[in-house]
Symmetry: C2
Subunit: 279 residues, 2 copies
């Protein structure tokens, strides 16, 4: 997805939010704001939003010396999701269509965001997403791909959402490679976050080798690129993976909630829609 002009105000907002999350004082916050204005003036307009976000958040980490501003938020989100895990498993085992339910749960987990735990109601989201009609529903193609694939590469999104991914992975009867970020960026899952959610018990955990948001292929490790190139089927979770990989072909299936008006417009669905989209 291209970076829309409407993304620029949001990058400024994100820079301030990350600065505050890192404990920056007013002077540091102003320096970071100015740094973000300079960075936005200098970026290649053809970059995807996660590539620009990467520049912004790297600058904030360097200015504040805080390597992982969202560490506590990530741990809290993982714990909260793990508390729900038995109920999520029960929903799948009692479902008439376990795969459909597990897909919806994986999408429900995408509600987890930078907002502090408690500012969204995770269980209410689960109940909403179980009943909500899809904005885009490529379930048939998804099921065909699963039937034909010998394995799946699964691109993770946020910490906490990982637990919902685990429920879907446990429902799939295929070997799964679960790819997490190579270093802290926003509340994206790293290896530590995936381990805390137990993903190593149900998949082969790998790193993309990059700490950019989403999956910026030219920033990923050689090993990950090889796995990506060879994958028969790829499940890509969340907004940043859509923004970096949309249009990359029919092997890809994007599972997400449309939480941002710009991205929702690009996907072609109303805000708040749930999406299972091929390609």
């Amino acid at each position: 997805m291209k970076t829309y002009l409407d993304c620029y105000p949001c990058f400024l907002r994100q820079a301030l939010e990350a600065a505050r999350q890192s404990g920056a004082d007013e002077t540091q916050q102003r320096d970071i704001l100015n740094g973000a204005l300079d960075a936005l003036r200098a970026v290649d307009p053809a970059s995807t939003p996660p590539e620009i976000g990467d520049v912004i958040h790297r600058m904030v980490r360097e200015e504040t010396g805080t390597a992982d501003p969202y560490q506590q938020a990530k741990s809290a989100a993982t714990r909260q999701a793990l508390d729900l895990y038995p109920r999520l498993k029960a929903l799948v085992s009692e479902a008439r269509n376990p795969l459909g339910t597990a897909v919806r749960l994986a999408i429900a987990g995408n509600i987890i965001d930078l907002a502090p735990v408690g500012e969204y109601d995770l269980w209410a989201t689960v109940e909403r997403v179980l009943d909500q009609p899809f904005g885009i529903d490529d379930t048939a193609a998804f099921q065909r791909a699963l039937a034909n694939a010998g394995a799946v590469l699964y691109l993770a999104d946020n910490a906490g959402e990982t637990v919902f991914d685990r429920v879907l992975i446990e429902t799939l009867d295929l070997p799964i490679t679960y790819a997490v970020k190579g270093g802290p960026i926003l509340n994206d899952a790293t290896e530590d976050d995936a381990l805390a959610a137990g993903l190593d018990q149900v998949s082969e955990l790998v790193s993309t080798g990059s700490d950019a948001p989403g999956t910026v292929l030219h920033r990923c490790s050689h090993d990950f690129r090889r796995r990506y190139d060879e994958a028969q089927m790829i499940i890509a979770k969340g907004q940043a993976n859509y923004e970096t990989l949309s249009g990359e072909g029919d092997r890809l299936f994007f599972l997400l909630q449309a939480k941002c008006p710009v991205m929702a417009g690009d996907v072609g669905v109303p805000m708040g829609s749930i999406v299972l989209k091929q390609g």
Copy 2:
């Protein structure tokens, strides 16, 4: 009010909004976005938000060659408010406390904003504001000031809101000077807009001599400055007048709705509050 760091993303958003309102194409919109990034990097951080808004919107007008992007929106808002005028007058004449009702109506009119007519429900706002408790209620001081003042200087805000101001002015038994902008800025009322709302029939219409948002005193005409300095009592409508004149003394009474989280925080009220604040 100082410009908070959180205002900067909003200035970028406003630049894009005004560019689109002026019919700018994608290339022009990007030029305007870049111009706004440069302007925000260069502004004096001690400026009030309307002073920075003035720089941004002037740049947009120069880039697009559109002197008054909101002309149609202003006319539509005035017409919509005039349609309600008989009902507003009836509310006041039937009220047990006509002055209190007219003050609330003047505050209700402050809901009119840059959103296209129809995106807010004007009559529903009237009904809400008639019943809503004040976030800040300096009514007693307001009534004392009215009793002691020989005349009132009334600083206008948006077109359309002017009609609600007219209802309040007709309720006050004092000579009123109604000050409008010296040229188009956002949807603020100019002389033409005030004439369309009939304000010349109930007050002496004057210009601030400035086309900055709010009332940036050092940008106003000598004549307006004299009127301002000599006024015994000043009613200042809306956010930008608060942002430029808060702390300027007990002669001033701000009537507004808190529609922006940053300004609401500065005033010290929850979002959506109605405010009658002295000083």
